[in-house]
């Protein structure tokens, strides 16, 4: 399987346009924030000191979730390309089983998602360091890394399920465009979840996206949050957490549980679908 894994990674990273466009959705959320979203949000919370850094970290959390979603999707578009031009048939004719080929796609998407999140993190952290003097908090690096690993896994599986029966590269393009746009909204990056009408909130909550973003944000803003809201009534802090999507379902433990449940459901679905899609995606007639 190492051969397959290496091939997939090499294919992804050998095309600069592919790498760039896989990050586009995340870059858009970052740039939109810099251009005007930040200003709007600061106005809301401007009675506190250090809000800028707090919001920077908040944005980074949401953007990392978006990165995990879209880069794994774009990594898996290679799988569909292989289906479309019979490359999959060629791979199946080697000693590698269909299961191994499938797992190689999954693992490579997982790794690509992780690498791209790290890259995105470095870009954003460096920018905010220079622009806003945001210092690097060493204590969060390990937890953030673990969340990245987890996010990349859950979204790799999600995208694999989504693309189960797709064998046309154009379709993947459309799906990824929709996903890229939607993930920004669902992660509450463009508009914080608290500012949305109830229906939109409920819609977001039935997907794993806001929980994933919340997990990132919670860990990333923790320290800064304590600093900014030092001496402020608990109720107000809770309000901030609710409005900005640091907590989605009452408390963080619940959020985590929902994410784990999503992972299990998606995995089961993934296994069922992969078993049934072989004939369809390989056959050329």
């Amino acid at each position: 399987m190492n051969g397959l894994l290496l091939r997939n990674l090499r294919l992804f990273f050998s095309s600069k346009t592919r790498v760039f466009f896989s990050l586009l959705g995340a870059l858009i959320s970052f740039v939109l924030y810099l251009i005007f979203l930040r200003k709007m949000m600061i106005q809301t919370w401007n009675s506190f000191n250090g809000t800028v850094k707090l919001l920077d970290l908040w944005l980074m959390g949401g953007t990392l979730a978006v990165t995990a979603i879209i880069t794994t999707g774009s990594a898996l578009s290679m799988m569909v390309e292989d289906r479309e031009n019979s490359r999959l048939a060629d791979l199946i004719l080697t000693d590698q089983s269909y299961t191994k080929i499938h797992l190689a796609y999954l693992f490579s998407a997982w790794l690509i998602g992780l690498i791209m999140q790290i890259a995105m993190y470095i870009v954003m952290q460096s920018y905010f360091m220079l622009a806003d003097g945001l210092e690097l908090d060493g204590t969060i690096i390990l937890p953030v890394f673990l969340i990245m690993v987890f996010s990349s896994l859950i979204w790799s599986i999600f995208n694999m399920v989504l693309l189960s029966f797709v064998k046309n590269v154009n379709t993947v393009g459309h799906i990824n465009t929709i996903l890229g746009t939607a993930s920004g909204f669902f992660a509450g990056v463009y508009i914080p979840i608290g500012n949305l009408p109830n229906f939109a909130k409920d819609l977001m909550k039935i997907t794993p996206v806001p929980y994933n973003a919340a997990l990132f944000r919670k860990v990333m803003v923790n320290d800064q949050l304590t600093k900014v809201f030092n001496g402020v009534p608990q109720k107000m802090v809770a309000n901030f957490k609710q409005k900005m999507g640091l907590i989605i379902s009452g408390n963080s433990t619940n959020d985590m549980k929902i994410l784990l449940l999503s992972l299990i459901i998606l995995s089961v679905l993934g296994i069922i679908l992969y078993r049934s899609n072989k004939n369809m995606v390989v056959s050329k007639i």
Partner: protein, 292 residues
């Protein structure tokens, strides 16, 4: 016997694509499936390689079935379209495919050398010419030293030099390693190399024989004489069949009799052409259809 196929049939939505095909292929043979586009050649090959499942029928390669993993080790496939990775170099492509086989075989350099790929080794596959791509494709199909090589229209759209080069390499391999080759083609001249030809039309084998026998049965040699004195020539054509096209007379006849006849009519004709019967004649005569 290397590969035995019995009653192979493929139906899709009640439509019969391949209809009850039986094959016996021995080691070292070159087998050609000849037929027009849409005759069912590729579908047959895809069933033989295990890429698509047959509706009914048996494919048996020395006891192995197409969905056995060991079967994959024994076959190499060159697809109609290129299936290697566009973004990788020739070497990366070959190396990555080689790694996907358990049994290690000849070093990569052996194949690079054999198919004259040294100069393009580090070029991305997508920048290669059609002929270069095809050479890499075939090298890839052989990289695990299979016993049978399936070639699905391997030289369609290639120039004559590339075609000759590919055939030289394949013929060498047949001599050196007793490689068995099964190819589909609608180029008749390509089928002429074959030990055995299956003519396929509408999913059925309509004729199966050696090239020589097919020629004997369906493609006689032709003497074509040009004359201004058609009647004068016809006097000598007793008990010989012929066709007249304006000032030309087309006479199916073997070499010896052609010489005898030409001697008799030499004063009546202004020119003549004698040609071997070819696969075109065979195909037209068997199917009553023309190959494009």
């Amino acid at each position: 016997m290397l590969l035995k196929v019995e009653h192979l049939t493929k139906k899709i939505n009640q439509k019969v694509i391949v209809d009850d095909i039986n094959l016996k292929i021995y080691q070292g043979q070159l087998i050609a499936f000849l037929g027009p586009n849409g005759a069912g050649k590729s579908t047959t090959i895809n069933m033989l390689t295990g890429i698509i499942k047959s509706t009914t029928g048996i494919v048996d390669l020395q006891g192995l079935k197409p969905n056995d993993t060991e079967y994959h080790q024994k076959i190499g496939v060159v697809f109609q379209n290129s299936v290697l990775d566009q973004e990788l170099t020739v070497k990366q492509n070959l190396l990555s495919r080689q790694r996907m086989y358990k049994k290690k075989s000849n070093s990569l350099n052996y194949w690079i050398d054999k198919f004259h790929l040294e100069k393009i080794c580090n070029q991305k596959y997508k920048y290669l010419s059609g002929g270069q791509k095809r050479r890499v494709d075939i090298a890839r199909a052989l990289i695990h030293q299979p016993q049978i090589l399936f070639l699905d229209e391997p030289t369609t759209g290639l120039d004559i030099q590339t075609r000759n080069l590919i055939w030289k390499i394949l013929n060498d391999l047949r001599k050196d390693t007793k490689l068995t080759i099964v190819l589909t083609t609608h180029y008749l001249e390509e089928a002429e190399y074959a030990d055995f030809v299956y003519v396929i039309n509408h999913g059925k084998i309509i004729s199966a024989n050696t090239v020589d026998n097919l020629k004997k049965d369906f493609a006689q040699n032709i003497l074509n004489v040009t004359t201004d004195d058609v009647q004068g020539v016809l006097k000598f054509l007793v008990d010989i069949s012929y066709k007249i096209q304006e000032n030309q007379i087309i006479i199916p006849i073997d070499e010896i009799n052609a010489i005898v006849l030409l001697n008799k009519i030499k004063n009546n004709i202004s020119g003549f052409e004698y040609r071997q019967g070819n696969m075109d004649d065979i195909f037209v005569n068997i199917t009553g259809e023309k190959v494009e």
